[in-house]
């Protein structure tokens, strides 16, 4: 589904990623882990088109999508969430999800300003669809609240609902459990399971090992910009290199 091959990213003299390759199978949940500074977020930024890699390629469903702009990648089903949730704070929860439906609407400036009949129908359709995704994430009761006023945990759920509205093929989640308490993390794990059941391939960067070992079928370990290991949770837990990296040995 998603294939990353030979990705290298240099910022000035610093090599953030060095020849990283792996593939993520369709319909799986893959965890990308590693100590701080391993290059996990950089990798996400490259895969979603926010950074252009120094070298290497990204393929989505066999199609080369390297160097494509984020907005084009999003339209092709490559969608992400952010470590520090990036909500549209002055819009309501429902409107946030409707922004996620942007690519599903057709009405432009003229149709919108004139409220042409088909534009009104489209708005109604988008609103109903947005409600569906709020329901999916279990936050329909918050629809009319301004997103900036949401507690952090609910904000996380909203960000996921908004990402799902794009009906992604691949959903990349950057530390979805960061800042969540244990009950919220449990809720999140259930939601990620539901996303996978809906046929979406999930990749997540995460520090919460319990969550990763629990829900991921495959794990990629990065350390200091290189791929250290790849395998099932059991293989990773027993891998001496991984243990050494996490215990802080050279």
């Amino acid at each position: 589904m998603l294939e990353v091959s030979g990705i290298t990213q240099r910022f000035g003299g610093v090599t953030a990623l060095d020849d990283v390759s792996f593939r993520i199978g369709a319909g799986t949940i893959t965890g990308i882990i590693g100590p701080n500074g391993a290059g996990k977020t950089t990798l996400f930024n490259i895969v979603t088109g926010i950074y252009t890699p120094t070298s290497g390629a990204v393929h989505l469903e066999g199609k080369n999508v390297t160097r494509q702009a984020p907005e084009r990648l999003a339209a092709q089903g490559m969608v992400r969430t952010f470590q520090n949730i990036e909500l549209f704070g002055r819009m309501t929860v429902l409107e946030n999800v409707m922004v996620g439906l942007h690519t599903k609407g057709r009405s432009g400036i003229i149709a919108s300003a004139l409220r042409l009949p088909w534009q009104i129908a489209e708005e109604r359709r988008l609103r109903e669809e947005a409600r569906h995704w709020l329901d999916f994430a279990g936050i329909s009761d918050l629809a009319d609240i301004e997103a900036g006023n949401l507690p952090f945990g609910k904000g996380r759920l909203l960000e996921i609902a908004r990402a799902m509205a794009l009906q992604p093929k691949v959903l990349l989640m950057d530390e979805p459990a960061a800042g969540l308490n244990s009950r919220e993390t449990l809720e999140l794990a259930r939601l990620i399971g539901k996303i996978c059941e809906a046929g979406v391939t999930v990749a997540l960067v995460e520090h919460d090992m319990e969550l990763v070992m629990d829900i991921c079928e495959a794990i990629v370990v990065l350390n200091l910009g290189r791929k250290l290991a790849e395998g099932t949770p059991r293989e990773i837990q027993e891998n001496p290199d991984v243990i050494a990296a996490y215990l802080g040995e050279g």
Partner: protein
């Protein structure tokens, strides 16, 4: 009552009725003339608010689009005797196209740099209006622009121009309200809050910014044409850097991201200099002082600050009564 007022259609109708009834209260005096200008300024402020208040992109060159509309209408009707109505439309579309071409490279810039680039554009246009003497009449201005007419009906009085200009402005307000509450409006507000998140949602940020920049130029150009035909005379000083800054001030004082706020800001900044005449030579000092105080105590603009102030005063009044 409150939920009644929250209904967008009801608010627009109430606002329109108020505007349409205003001349009866002003009884054709000098203030009616001032309110003709409030109408033009509201139109310009609404156009800028779409860009600045909703999409979060600054433009210090709005006066240039206003000036291009005014001069192009003036020259084509006064010098070349063309029909002012189709000139107005053709000029607005041309100015919109120009804004699209100018906007494409410069809207890549952000914040201060975008301010500088739009400022530069404004200055270029201002210099051109001054220097192209053969065409524009240079610093001494362009006289003899005809009033607008429909058949044998001539828009030659303050009252007629009031209804003409406010008709257009109310129309622009209605269309803008529709726009900001649509897919496009949500896209604009998304860009304002987080450009990277907007892109990840599949919004073509650059294109949308340029489109809204062009739209604001089209509206400003129409305002310029109306201004030229109302005044029958234009000179470059009306379209300089000062006026661009004044428009930004109207939008901020009125309330960023509020269409009715643009009316409040435009009304205040147009009426205030008239009311401050009593201070004679010190009027500009008082004007500056009032603007500073308002920005300090009403950072959300008049549209949010005035109800807040009223609420506080009411609460204090009730507390006073309870204490007594």
């Amino acid at each position: 009552m409150k939920s009644f007022l929250r209904n967008e259609a009801v608010r627009f109708i109430l606002f329109s009725v108020m505007i349409l009834a205003l001349p009866a209260l002003l009884a054709g005096g000098y203030l009616l003339n001032v309110f003709v200008f409030v109408g033009i300024h509201t139109l310009l402020a609404v156009a800028l608010n779409l860009l600045l208040g909703y999409a979060g992109q600054i433009s210090l060159g709005q006066a240039a689009f206003f000036g291009l509309g005014a001069y192009a209408s003036g020259i084509l009707t006064a010098t070349y005797g063309q029909n002012p109505w189709w000139v107005m439309v053709a000029v607005a579309l041309t100015v919109g196209l120009l804004a699209f071409l100018v906007g494409f490279p410069i809207l890549k810039l952000k914040g201060h740099y975008l301010a500088m680039a739009t400022l530069g554009f404004g200055i270029i246009v201002y210099i051109a209006l001054n220097e192209a003497v053969d065409l524009t009449g240079g610093p001494s201005g362009l006289p003899g622009i005809p009033n607008l007419t429909v058949g044998s009906y001539v828009f030659d009085s303050d009252l007629k121009n009031y209804y003409l200009i406010w008709g257009v402005t109310l129309g622009a307000i209605l269309l803008s309200l529709n726009l900001v509450n649509s897919r496009i409006g949500r896209g604009l507000r998304a860009i304002h809050d987080s450009e990277v998140a907007a892109r990840v949602m599949g919004i073509r940020v650059r294109l949308l910014k340029v489109q809204i920049f062009a739209l604001s130029a089209v509206i400003s150009s129409i305002a310029g044409s109306l201004y030229a035909h109302t005044m029958t005379f234009v000179s470059p000083t009306s379209f300089g850097f000062n006026f661009s800054v004044e428009l930004v001030t109207m939008v901020i004082i009125g309330g960023l991201g509020s269409i009715y706020g643009s009316f409040l800001g435009a009304a205040l900044l147009t009426l205030l200099p008239e009311m401050l005449r009593a201070f004679q030579d010190y009027d500009i000092v008082v004007y500056g002082f009032l603007l500073i105080v308002m920005t300090m105590f009403m950072p959300g603009g008049l549209v949010r600050g005035v109800p807040e102030l009223a609420r506080r005063l009411l609460a204090r009044g009730e507390k006073g009564r309870a204490d007594a």
